[in-house]
Amino acid sequence: MPAVTASLVLIIFLAGTIAGSLGALLGLGGGVFLVPFLNLGLGFPFTVAAAISLTTVIATSSTVSASRTGKHLINMKLGMLLEVATAGGSLLGGLTAQLIAQATLQKLFGVLSALVGIIMLSRVRRRNVILDPNIDPGVLGGRYHEDESGGVVTYRVKRLPVAIAASFFAGNVSSLLGIGGGFIKVPVLNAWCGIPMRAAAATSAFMIGVTATAGAIIYYGHGQLVPALAATAVLGVQLGSWGGMRFGAAAPVKWLKVLMAVVLFIISAMMFARGMR
Protein backbone atom coordinates (compact mmCIF):
# COMPACT_ATOMS: atom_id res chain seq x y z
CA MET A 1 0.00 0.00 0.00
CA PRO A 2 1.54 3.36 -0.98
CA ALA A 3 2.58 5.63 1.91
CA VAL A 4 0.91 9.03 1.88
CA THR A 5 3.44 11.87 1.67
CA ALA A 6 3.00 15.55 0.85
CA SER A 7 4.82 15.19 -2.49
CA LEU A 8 2.73 12.16 -3.48
CA VAL A 9 -0.42 14.12 -2.65
CA LEU A 10 0.77 17.01 -4.82
CA ILE A 11 1.62 14.71 -7.75
CA ILE A 12 -1.77 12.94 -7.59
CA PHE A 13 -3.60 16.24 -7.24
CA LEU A 14 -1.91 17.55 -10.41
CA ALA A 15 -2.54 14.28 -12.27
CA GLY A 16 -6.19 14.43 -11.21
CA THR A 17 -6.49 18.02 -12.40
CA ILE A 18 -5.04 17.16 -15.81
CA ALA A 19 -7.14 13.99 -16.16
CA GLY A 20 -10.26 15.90 -15.09
CA SER A 21 -9.78 18.77 -17.52
CA LEU A 22 -8.97 16.40 -20.42
CA GLY A 23 -12.03 14.38 -19.48
CA ALA A 24 -14.27 17.44 -19.52
CA LEU A 25 -12.83 18.65 -22.85
CA LEU A 26 -13.14 15.26 -24.53
CA GLY A 27 -16.42 14.20 -22.93
CA LEU A 28 -14.76 11.24 -21.24
CA GLY A 29 -14.18 10.54 -17.59
CA GLY A 30 -10.54 11.07 -16.67
CA GLY A 31 -10.14 7.45 -15.55
CA VAL A 32 -8.64 6.25 -18.80
CA PHE A 33 -5.69 8.60 -18.11
CA LEU A 34 -5.63 8.36 -14.30
CA VAL A 35 -5.46 4.54 -13.99
CA PRO A 36 -2.33 4.10 -16.18
CA PHE A 37 -0.66 7.08 -14.46
CA LEU A 38 -1.21 5.56 -10.99
CA ASN A 39 -0.43 1.99 -12.06
CA LEU A 40 2.45 2.43 -14.51
CA GLY A 41 3.70 5.87 -13.49
CA LEU A 42 3.55 5.61 -9.70
CA GLY A 43 3.67 1.81 -9.45
CA PHE A 44 0.45 1.37 -7.42
CA PRO A 45 -1.16 -2.08 -7.64
CA PHE A 46 -3.76 -2.08 -10.45
CA THR A 47 -6.66 -2.58 -8.02
CA VAL A 48 -5.54 0.39 -5.88
CA ALA A 49 -5.31 2.57 -9.01
CA ALA A 50 -8.75 1.40 -10.18
CA ALA A 51 -10.29 2.07 -6.75
CA ILE A 52 -8.96 5.65 -6.64
CA SER A 53 -10.12 6.25 -10.20
CA LEU A 54 -13.63 4.94 -9.46
CA THR A 55 -14.06 7.48 -6.65
CA THR A 56 -13.24 10.28 -9.11
CA VAL A 57 -15.78 8.79 -11.54
CA ILE A 58 -18.48 8.95 -8.84
CA ALA A 59 -17.61 12.54 -7.92
CA THR A 60 -17.64 13.66 -11.57
CA SER A 61 -20.97 11.94 -12.21
CA SER A 62 -22.63 13.57 -9.19
CA THR A 63 -21.25 17.04 -9.95
CA VAL A 64 -22.01 17.01 -13.67
CA SER A 65 -25.50 15.53 -13.22
CA ALA A 66 -26.39 18.01 -10.44
CA SER A 67 -25.56 20.88 -12.81
CA ARG A 68 -27.69 19.36 -15.59
CA THR A 69 -30.90 18.56 -13.73
CA GLY A 70 -33.94 20.64 -14.63
CA LYS A 71 -33.08 20.72 -18.35
CA HIS A 72 -34.58 17.29 -19.20
CA LEU A 73 -31.28 16.51 -20.89
CA ILE A 74 -30.75 13.53 -18.60
CA ASN A 75 -33.23 10.82 -19.54
CA MET A 76 -33.98 9.65 -15.99
CA LYS A 77 -36.28 6.77 -16.91
CA LEU A 78 -33.94 5.32 -19.49
CA GLY A 79 -31.02 5.92 -17.10
CA MET A 80 -32.68 4.11 -14.22
CA LEU A 81 -33.70 1.21 -16.46
CA LEU A 82 -30.17 0.82 -17.84
CA GLU A 83 -28.68 1.18 -14.34
CA VAL A 84 -30.13 -2.25 -13.55
CA ALA A 85 -27.71 -3.58 -16.19
CA THR A 86 -24.71 -1.32 -15.41
CA ALA A 87 -24.87 -1.94 -11.64
CA GLY A 88 -25.16 -5.70 -12.20
CA GLY A 89 -22.17 -5.64 -14.55
CA SER A 90 -20.24 -3.49 -12.13
CA LEU A 91 -20.94 -5.78 -9.18
CA LEU A 92 -19.57 -8.73 -11.17
CA GLY A 93 -16.58 -6.67 -12.36
CA GLY A 94 -15.69 -5.61 -8.82
CA LEU A 95 -15.81 -9.24 -7.66
CA THR A 96 -13.80 -10.64 -10.57
CA ALA A 97 -11.16 -7.87 -10.33
CA GLN A 98 -10.13 -9.47 -7.03
CA LEU A 99 -9.53 -12.83 -8.71
CA ILE A 100 -7.73 -11.74 -11.88
CA ALA A 101 -3.94 -11.35 -12.04
CA GLN A 102 -2.58 -7.81 -12.42
CA ALA A 103 -0.94 -8.74 -15.75
CA THR A 104 -4.33 -9.78 -17.17
CA LEU A 105 -5.96 -6.55 -15.99
CA GLN A 106 -3.15 -4.59 -17.65
CA LYS A 107 -3.65 -6.43 -20.95
CA LEU A 108 -7.41 -5.81 -20.77
CA PHE A 109 -6.74 -2.14 -20.12
CA GLY A 110 -4.41 -2.14 -23.12
CA VAL A 111 -7.19 -3.46 -25.36
CA LEU A 112 -9.64 -1.00 -23.90
CA SER A 113 -7.55 2.16 -24.21
CA ALA A 114 -6.80 1.31 -27.85
CA LEU A 115 -10.55 0.92 -28.38
CA VAL A 116 -11.24 4.33 -26.79
CA GLY A 117 -8.61 5.85 -29.08
CA ILE A 118 -10.20 4.31 -32.19
CA ILE A 119 -13.70 5.42 -31.15
CA MET A 120 -12.39 8.92 -30.48
CA LEU A 121 -10.76 9.16 -33.91
CA SER A 122 -13.84 7.80 -35.67
CA ARG A 123 -16.06 10.39 -34.01
CA VAL A 124 -13.94 13.48 -34.57
CA ARG A 125 -16.45 15.17 -36.86
CA ARG A 126 -19.72 13.53 -35.90
CA ARG A 127 -22.69 15.57 -34.72
CA ASN A 128 -26.14 14.10 -34.39
CA VAL A 129 -29.23 16.16 -33.74
CA ILE A 130 -32.73 14.98 -34.54
CA LEU A 131 -35.22 17.81 -34.91
CA ASP A 132 -38.76 16.54 -35.13
CA PRO A 133 -40.88 17.83 -32.25
CA ASN A 134 -44.06 16.08 -33.41
CA ILE A 135 -43.25 12.46 -32.66
CA ASP A 136 -44.46 10.82 -29.45
CA PRO A 137 -41.37 10.01 -27.32
CA GLY A 138 -43.03 7.01 -25.67
CA VAL A 139 -42.32 5.87 -22.11
CA LEU A 140 -38.53 5.80 -22.47
CA GLY A 141 -37.95 8.53 -25.01
CA GLY A 142 -37.31 12.16 -24.20
CA ARG A 143 -37.78 15.74 -25.17
CA TYR A 144 -35.48 18.64 -24.38
CA HIS A 145 -34.77 22.17 -25.45
CA GLU A 146 -31.51 22.45 -27.35
CA ASP A 147 -29.63 25.69 -26.72
CA GLU A 148 -27.52 25.60 -29.92
CA SER A 149 -30.39 25.36 -32.40
CA GLY A 150 -33.07 26.89 -30.20
CA GLY A 151 -35.37 24.00 -31.13
CA VAL A 152 -37.04 21.21 -29.20
CA VAL A 153 -35.44 17.81 -29.75
CA THR A 154 -37.71 14.77 -29.38
CA TYR A 155 -36.53 11.20 -29.67
CA ARG A 156 -37.71 7.63 -29.18
CA VAL A 157 -35.56 4.80 -27.90
CA LYS A 158 -34.88 2.07 -30.44
CA ARG A 159 -33.31 -1.37 -29.93
CA LEU A 160 -33.61 -1.42 -26.13
CA PRO A 161 -31.95 -4.88 -25.79
CA VAL A 162 -28.82 -3.46 -27.47
CA ALA A 163 -28.75 -0.58 -24.98
CA ILE A 164 -29.15 -3.02 -22.06
CA ALA A 165 -26.36 -5.30 -23.32
CA ALA A 166 -23.98 -2.37 -23.88
CA SER A 167 -24.81 -1.05 -20.40
CA PHE A 168 -24.05 -4.39 -18.76
CA PHE A 169 -20.73 -4.61 -20.59
CA ALA A 170 -19.87 -0.97 -19.77
CA GLY A 171 -20.66 -1.57 -16.08
CA ASN A 172 -18.50 -4.67 -16.04
CA VAL A 173 -15.52 -2.94 -17.65
CA SER A 174 -16.05 0.09 -15.40
CA SER A 175 -15.42 -1.57 -12.07
CA LEU A 176 -12.95 -4.11 -13.45
CA LEU A 177 -10.67 -1.40 -14.85
CA GLY A 178 -11.58 1.70 -12.84
CA ILE A 179 -13.11 3.84 -15.55
CA GLY A 180 -16.55 5.34 -16.19
CA GLY A 181 -17.51 3.30 -19.23
CA GLY A 182 -19.28 6.16 -20.98
CA PHE A 183 -17.19 5.65 -24.12
CA ILE A 184 -18.96 2.29 -24.61
CA LYS A 185 -22.51 3.42 -23.83
CA VAL A 186 -22.57 6.84 -25.49
CA PRO A 187 -21.68 5.70 -29.05
CA VAL A 188 -24.07 2.72 -28.80
CA LEU A 189 -26.97 4.81 -27.46
CA ASN A 190 -26.29 7.45 -30.09
CA ALA A 191 -25.61 5.34 -33.16
CA TRP A 192 -27.98 2.39 -32.63
CA CYS A 193 -30.63 3.41 -30.13
CA GLY A 194 -31.77 6.72 -31.60
CA ILE A 195 -30.71 8.92 -28.69
CA PRO A 196 -29.27 12.34 -29.57
CA MET A 197 -25.62 12.85 -28.66
CA ARG A 198 -26.15 15.35 -25.85
CA ALA A 199 -28.91 13.31 -24.20
CA ALA A 200 -26.85 10.11 -24.54
CA ALA A 201 -23.81 11.77 -22.91
CA ALA A 202 -25.88 13.34 -20.10
CA THR A 203 -27.74 10.08 -19.38
CA SER A 204 -24.51 8.06 -19.41
CA ALA A 205 -22.79 10.53 -17.04
CA PHE A 206 -25.84 10.26 -14.78
CA MET A 207 -25.61 6.45 -14.69
CA ILE A 208 -21.87 6.07 -14.09
CA GLY A 209 -22.17 7.32 -10.47
CA VAL A 210 -24.33 4.36 -9.46
CA THR A 211 -22.29 2.05 -11.70
CA ALA A 212 -18.94 3.03 -10.18
CA THR A 213 -20.37 2.94 -6.64
CA ALA A 214 -21.31 -0.74 -6.98
CA GLY A 215 -17.66 -1.48 -7.83
CA ALA A 216 -16.00 1.02 -5.48
CA ILE A 217 -17.76 -0.41 -2.42
CA ILE A 218 -16.13 -3.79 -3.13
CA TYR A 219 -12.66 -2.22 -3.46
CA TYR A 220 -13.34 -0.33 -0.23
CA GLY A 221 -14.26 -3.57 1.53
CA HIS A 222 -10.96 -5.07 0.37
CA GLY A 223 -9.05 -2.14 1.85
CA GLN A 224 -7.82 -1.14 -1.62
CA LEU A 225 -9.27 2.36 -1.39
CA VAL A 226 -6.68 4.61 0.31
CA PRO A 227 -8.83 7.48 1.66
CA ALA A 228 -6.18 10.22 1.58
CA LEU A 229 -5.15 9.40 -2.00
CA ALA A 230 -8.74 9.03 -3.19
CA ALA A 231 -9.52 12.40 -1.58
CA THR A 232 -6.57 13.98 -3.41
CA ALA A 233 -7.56 12.54 -6.77
CA VAL A 234 -11.23 13.49 -6.30
CA LEU A 235 -10.39 17.11 -5.45
CA GLY A 236 -7.93 17.32 -8.36
CA VAL A 237 -10.42 15.90 -10.84
CA GLN A 238 -13.18 18.21 -9.53
CA LEU A 239 -10.92 21.23 -10.07
CA GLY A 240 -9.82 19.97 -13.49
CA SER A 241 -13.28 19.22 -14.82
CA TRP A 242 -14.57 22.56 -13.51
CA GLY A 243 -11.76 24.30 -15.38
CA GLY A 244 -12.25 22.17 -18.48
CA MET A 245 -15.96 22.97 -18.65
CA ARG A 246 -15.47 26.65 -17.90
CA PHE A 247 -12.56 27.42 -20.19
CA GLY A 248 -12.92 24.53 -22.61
CA ALA A 249 -15.24 26.23 -25.10
CA ALA A 250 -12.34 27.95 -26.85
CA ALA A 251 -10.13 24.85 -27.02
CA PRO A 252 -9.54 23.21 -30.40
CA VAL A 253 -11.27 19.96 -29.44
CA LYS A 254 -10.79 18.28 -32.82
CA TRP A 255 -7.03 18.62 -32.59
CA LEU A 256 -7.05 17.58 -28.96
CA LYS A 257 -8.99 14.41 -29.83
CA VAL A 258 -6.38 13.34 -32.36
CA LEU A 259 -3.58 14.08 -29.89
CA MET A 260 -5.29 12.18 -27.08
CA ALA A 261 -6.03 9.22 -29.36
CA VAL A 262 -2.26 9.01 -29.96
CA VAL A 263 -1.67 9.19 -26.18
CA LEU A 264 -4.19 6.37 -25.70
CA PHE A 265 -2.42 4.17 -28.25
CA ILE A 266 0.86 4.77 -26.36
CA ILE A 267 -0.86 3.90 -23.06
CA SER A 268 -2.24 0.77 -24.70
CA ALA A 269 1.21 -0.33 -25.86
CA MET A 270 2.73 0.37 -22.44
CA MET A 271 0.01 -1.57 -20.63
CA PHE A 272 0.52 -4.49 -22.99
CA ALA A 273 4.29 -4.39 -22.54
CA ARG A 274 3.89 -4.41 -18.75
CA GLY A 275 1.23 -7.11 -18.83
CA MET A 276 3.44 -9.39 -20.96
CA ARG A 277 6.41 -9.23 -18.62
Partner: protein
Protein backbone atom coordinates in the same frame (compact mmCIF):
# COMPACT_ATOMS: atom_id res chain seq x y z
CA UNK B 1 -45.65 20.31 -28.35
CA UNK B 2 -48.59 18.04 -27.62
CA UNK B 3 -49.05 16.85 -24.03
CA UNK B 4 -49.10 13.10 -23.51
CA UNK B 5 -51.26 12.37 -20.45
CA UNK B 6 -50.46 8.66 -20.24
CA UNK B 7 -46.76 9.33 -19.69
CA UNK B 8 -45.08 10.98 -16.74
CA UNK B 9 -46.35 14.52 -16.62
CA UNK B 10 -44.05 17.45 -17.15
CA UNK B 11 -44.58 18.55 -13.53
CA UNK B 12 -43.67 15.15 -12.06
CA UNK B 13 -40.56 14.93 -14.23
CA UNK B 14 -39.51 18.38 -13.10
CA UNK B 15 -40.03 17.49 -9.43
CA UNK B 16 -37.96 14.29 -9.78
CA UNK B 17 -35.14 16.18 -11.50
CA UNK B 18 -35.19 18.88 -8.82
CA UNK B 19 -35.06 16.33 -5.97
CA UNK B 20 -32.29 14.33 -7.63
CA UNK B 21 -30.30 17.52 -8.30
CA UNK B 22 -30.64 18.55 -4.66
CA UNK B 23 -29.43 15.16 -3.36
CA UNK B 24 -26.44 15.11 -5.72
CA UNK B 25 -25.45 18.69 -4.90
CA UNK B 26 -25.70 18.12 -1.14
CA UNK B 27 -23.69 14.87 -1.40
CA UNK B 28 -20.92 16.47 -3.45
CA UNK B 29 -20.67 19.46 -1.10
CA UNK B 30 -20.57 17.30 2.04
CA UNK B 31 -18.02 14.82 0.68
CA UNK B 32 -15.77 17.45 -0.93
CA UNK B 33 -15.72 19.54 2.26
CA UNK B 34 -14.86 16.50 4.43
CA UNK B 35 -12.22 15.25 1.97
CA UNK B 36 -10.56 18.68 1.62
CA UNK B 37 -10.51 19.36 5.36
CA UNK B 38 -9.39 15.80 6.18
CA UNK B 39 -6.61 15.98 3.61
CA UNK B 40 -5.29 19.33 4.88
CA UNK B 41 -5.39 18.10 8.49
CA UNK B 42 -3.68 14.81 7.68
CA UNK B 43 -0.92 16.59 5.75
CA UNK B 44 -0.28 18.78 8.77
CA UNK B 45 0.92 15.65 10.53
CA UNK B 46 -1.99 13.89 12.23
CA UNK B 47 -2.02 10.09 12.53
CA UNK B 48 -4.49 7.76 10.81
CA UNK B 49 -6.88 7.46 13.75
CA UNK B 50 -7.61 11.12 14.31
CA UNK B 51 -10.10 13.80 13.31
CA UNK B 52 -8.30 13.88 9.93
CA UNK B 53 -8.64 10.14 9.32
CA UNK B 54 -12.26 10.25 10.43
CA UNK B 55 -13.07 13.17 8.12
CA UNK B 56 -11.50 11.33 5.18
CA UNK B 57 -13.57 8.22 5.96
CA UNK B 58 -16.76 10.29 6.26
CA UNK B 59 -15.91 12.05 2.99
CA UNK B 60 -15.41 8.74 1.14
CA UNK B 61 -18.58 7.25 2.62
CA UNK B 62 -20.57 10.39 1.71
CA UNK B 63 -19.20 10.13 -1.83
CA UNK B 64 -20.27 6.47 -2.09
CA UNK B 65 -23.64 7.19 -0.43
CA UNK B 66 -24.60 10.03 -2.79
CA UNK B 67 -25.58 7.89 -5.84
CA UNK B 68 -27.32 5.42 -3.49
CA UNK B 69 -29.32 8.27 -1.91
CA UNK B 70 -30.21 9.43 -5.41
CA UNK B 71 -31.69 6.00 -6.23
CA UNK B 72 -33.57 5.96 -2.88
CA UNK B 73 -35.27 9.34 -3.51
CA UNK B 74 -36.10 8.23 -7.07
CA UNK B 75 -37.76 5.08 -5.71
CA UNK B 76 -39.75 7.19 -3.25
CA UNK B 77 -40.79 9.52 -6.04
CA UNK B 78 -41.92 6.65 -8.29
CA UNK B 79 -43.88 5.14 -5.39
CA UNK B 80 -45.67 8.45 -4.82
CA UNK B 81 -46.48 8.57 -8.54
CA UNK B 82 -47.71 4.94 -8.31
CA UNK B 83 -45.38 4.07 -11.17
CA UNK B 84 -44.82 0.46 -10.15
CA UNK B 85 -42.70 -0.44 -13.17
CA UNK B 86 -40.04 2.12 -12.29
CA UNK B 87 -40.44 1.47 -8.57
CA UNK B 88 -39.46 -2.14 -9.31
CA UNK B 89 -36.52 -1.16 -11.53
CA UNK B 90 -35.04 1.28 -8.98
CA UNK B 91 -35.56 -1.33 -6.23
CA UNK B 92 -33.54 -3.84 -8.28
CA UNK B 93 -30.72 -1.27 -8.53
CA UNK B 94 -30.86 -0.84 -4.74
CA UNK B 95 -30.67 -4.62 -4.26
CA UNK B 96 -27.59 -4.71 -6.52
CA UNK B 97 -25.95 -1.92 -4.50
CA UNK B 98 -26.86 -3.77 -1.29
CA UNK B 99 -25.29 -6.93 -2.74
CA UNK B 100 -22.03 -5.08 -3.26
CA UNK B 101 -22.16 -3.83 0.37
CA UNK B 102 -22.75 -7.42 1.51
CA UNK B 103 -19.86 -8.64 -0.66
CA UNK B 104 -17.65 -5.93 0.85
CA UNK B 105 -18.66 -6.87 4.40
CA UNK B 106 -17.98 -10.54 3.72
CA UNK B 107 -14.34 -9.69 3.18
CA UNK B 108 -14.29 -8.75 6.85
CA UNK B 109 -13.36 -5.12 6.44
CA UNK B 110 -14.95 -2.11 8.09
CA UNK B 111 -17.66 -0.38 6.14
Amino acid sequence: MSPSPHHTSERELFRLEATVGLVLRAGVMLSSACLALGLVLSLSGAAAVSPAGLLLQIGILALLATPIARVVVSTAEYISERDWRFTTLTLIVLVELLASVVAALMFGRKL
